[in-house]
Amino acid sequence: MTDRKNILEVKNLSTYFFTDNGVVRAVENLSFKLQEGSTLGIVGESGSGKSVTALSIMGLFKGTTGRVVEGEIIFEGKDLLKLSEEERRGIRGKDISMIFQEPMTSLNPVLKIGEQISEAIIEHQNVGKSEAMEQVVQILKDTGLPRVESIVNEYPFQLSGGQRQRVMIAMALVCRPKILIADEPTTALDVTIQAQILDLMRRLKERSGTSIIFITHSLGVVAEMCDEVLVMYCSRAMETGNVKDVFKDPLHPYTRGLMASIPKLGERVEELYTIPGNVPNPRFMPKGCKFAPRCSEAMDICHEEEPPFFDFGGGRTSRCWLCSNGREVK
């Protein structure tokens, strides 16, 4: 399990947004490791801080009020947060790249597909226009797009949503990044297209050995795609571990709740389970465990004091007082 080396290590990351209406703590004291060649799933409800975690790693806060206020993001032995903007730009799109949720709006409507992919190549590799174009055609073919030669001269509006997401994947992978961050890459697509895109990502990963951070709200996708999983709730990590272990024996009541709300094949139930209550308003956060108000197993201490991480070895941790038999992580 731990024989592979960590390509990315996030330590105590906190990212806040400083809005007119106050500070929003989008990510709070988050730590995780990404092993080389593996896929880490970050799962949680919308607003749990998954996407902001991705943006923190990419350093894409320009034009927003967001800022990493604390922590380290260590990539290949360097803390990304200590690099200059110019150095980070050299890593973005080359060593670490990202696919976004909305393929319909994530491509520039007035530039040709070929131009949009090749500009990344020209930026990061010392190649000319025609050579870059050859690479573009090759990577587009790898994504299984039809009539690639004409697509490079087309505009985004001429493609379907699934085709655009393939273009986005091609764009992210064209410089052979070491890490690919996929932020809900299938959420906006039709169900049949979703399966195709997931399949494509799996194939490309097997071939290139890229490490992937896969952000999703669906545990089903995690089970299908990931080796490790990180469950987030209210800007915090709740549980981490190997996917098989977590699915077999979820430690945190929130993870159990998430799993209970997945419909199972061949099992008819009167009503699908839903976690009671709502995600708390970020301005009125509970004092203790953030999940306590919705937790059926909450104890007195849960409302009073936020639990620390309890470590069970092999990357398994849980932020829950019920798990206090594990080793406490300071």
């Binding site: 320009k62 530039l111 990344a120």
Partner: protein, 306 residues
């Protein structure tokens, strides 16, 4: 694209047809007897009858319109009552001067406006932005004829470095062109700024940054390129105001273009000339809008490929 183009040009001709009706009715809408107004109260009955016949005002309206249109299509805009020369001959040299002035004004104001807009929009909350926004707000509110007078005072009277009237050389064009472009520059700055801010919020900007592109490339190639579409529309919309404004600027700087010609012709009740000028200026405006729509289509692939 071709179909769009043809459609757009046909609709422009449709508008022009309606405009021509309005311009045609112009003399006929003047209360009382326009011929009396033109020739003066103490002209003889004979003179009045002569002018009436010359203008064709004694025939039925439909016939008059037919004759007038036929003339226009043959390049005959009528005869100036004041000079007795064909209107076209009177207008032609003045027209060239106005076009030259307008082209210079629009060039500097659009280029400067776009640069200022991007400069302001990429420095939101800093002094550059406050500077840009203040200039914009002031530029849109300032009366052009007032700016013109102040410039005449400063550069012509005090510093004595620039000519304040006429169109003899390029120096004489500086002050009028600056005055004429002020409001356009402010408008272009404002819209470039706001539409750049809009497009910088788009998802594809985040994609461009995620590719590791230089900020300069992100702003100009991805942000500005997209905001250009709406900026071009605004330029087209404001071009009419600029053409109208040329009347004022030519008055202030005694510039021998069609604007000052229009004003003096109205003063002298040379209605045939006024009618022709109104038709000409509108035709201009209508076809410049067609041109703007075509540029718009070129910038926007979704329309181009329709």
């Amino acid at each position: 694209m071709l179909r769009y183009l043809i459609k757009r040009i046909l609709s422009a001709f449709g508008t022009m047809l309606l405009v021509s009706v309005v311009a045609f009715l112009f003399i006929r809408l003047i209360p009382g007897d326009p011929v009396r107004l033109m020739v003066g109260e103490d002209a003889s009955y004979e003179t009045v009858m002569n002018v009436t016949r010359k203008l064709g005002l004694d025939k039925p309206l439909i016939t008059q319109y037919g004759i007038w249109m036929k003339g226009i299509l043959q390049g005959d805009l009528g005869t100036s009552f004041r000079t007795g020369r064909p209107v076209l001959e009177e207008i032609a040299p003045r027209y060239g001067k106005t076009v030259r002035l307008a082209l210079i004004s629009i060039s500097w104001s659009v280029i400067l406006g776009m640069l200022m807009g991007v400069w302001s929009g990429t420095n939101v909350g800093k002094w550059q932005d406050y500077f840009g926004v203040t200039l914009t707000v002031a530029g849109q509110a300032v009366p052009a004829f007032w700016i013109g007078l102040l410039l005449i005072y400063v550069f012509g009277v005090r510093l004595k470095v620039l000519p304040v009237s006429g169109a003899k050389n390029w120096k004489a064009l500086i002050l009028p062109a600056f005055t004429m472009g002020t409001s356009m520059a402010a408008t272009v700055t404002r819209f470039t700024r706001s539409s750049l801010l809009e497009s910088l919020k788009e998802d594809y900007i985040r994609t461009a940054r995620a590719k590791g592109l230089k900020e300069r490339v992100v702003i100009w190639k991805h942000g500005f390129r997209n905001s250009l579409i709406s900026v071009v529309t605004v330029i087209g919309m404001n071009f009419g105001a600029m053409l109208g404004g040329s009347v004022l600027i030519e008055e202030v700087f005694v510039y021998p273009g069609i604007g000052s010609f229009l004003v003096s012709s109205i003063g002298l009740r040379d209605y045939v000339v006024v009618q022709a000028l109104i038709l000409l200026l509108s035709a201009h405006y209508v076809f410049i809008n067609v041109f703007v729509d075509i540029v718009y289509a070129i910038l926007n692939p979704e329309i181009r490929f329709e």
